[in-house]
Symmetry: C2
Subunit: 140 residues, 2 copies
């Protein structure tokens, strides 16, 4: 599977230094997803002048392009998931809010019986697992 940067280049997306740094930062967190603020902080290490607005704009562009997924697990900041080409679910730490990808065996869609759909046209099922991550277990 190609990296996000490679895929974007392939789609002839206008590439700028800022956008490259953001895409690379997203790829680094392929299994642990960051908030916009996280991305800004990490990108700033390699490019101190990068602006908050550019990070937000770029993340929204990537979501619109369908190359990155927006994940909301708490009411606070959204997180961004670059790993859209593998089907997966999310595992959230109740202590620190970290989010990582996991793979499951079955299909959660099949757990919903037709009469429980209440007239909705149901297209997707996502499972969110919650618990305490290894780091936070150690800290307790």
């Amino acid at each position: 599977m190609s990296s996000l940067v490679e895929r974007l280049r392939g789609r002839k997306w206008r590439m700028t230094p800022q956008r490259r740094v953001i895409a690379e930062t997203l790829d680094c967190g392929e299994h642990v997803h960051y908030t916009a603020e996280d991305i800004l902080n990490r990108a700033s290490v390699h490019m101190p002048e990068i602006s908050r607005a550019t990070v937000y704009n770029t993340l929204n562009d990537l979501v619109s392009l369908g190359e990155v997924l927006e994940v909301s697990v708490d009411g606070r900041s959204k997180r961004y998931d670059p790993n859209i080409h593998h089907d997966h679910e999310h595992l959230v730490c109740d202590a620190c809010g970290a989010v990582r990808d996991v793979h499951i065996d079955g299909d959660a869609l099949s757990l919903l019986s037709p009469q429980e759909s209440h007239g909705f046209l149901v297209t997707e099922a996502k499972v969110t697992y919650r618990g305490i991550c290894p780091d936070c277990q150690g800290r307790s």
Copy 2:
């Protein structure tokens, strides 16, 4: 199952007119969950002077008490679910953001194999179904 208002009375929670109206409003949406702003609007019908801060404070208190669940399905506003005493999952409309409860047959926790837990102490699995609600299907 007792209503939210009855349970709160039983827990000797300090009851005020504002809090009663908020709790009753939550109970009205037992299967369709509201945002804080929704609650404010609906409560205002019965009590026009009620303040936004009181609604937010009260909702947070109820979440802390464990009597109401906070639900985040998009990056926008949180929604509040008073139906914590029945195990259930959520069905979200991608068009209007409405959230309602559904019941499923199996258990999503069992879909996660131990080696996929990545060291997390996993305590909960929640499925979020997405689709288009009957109202929005009609509107399209």
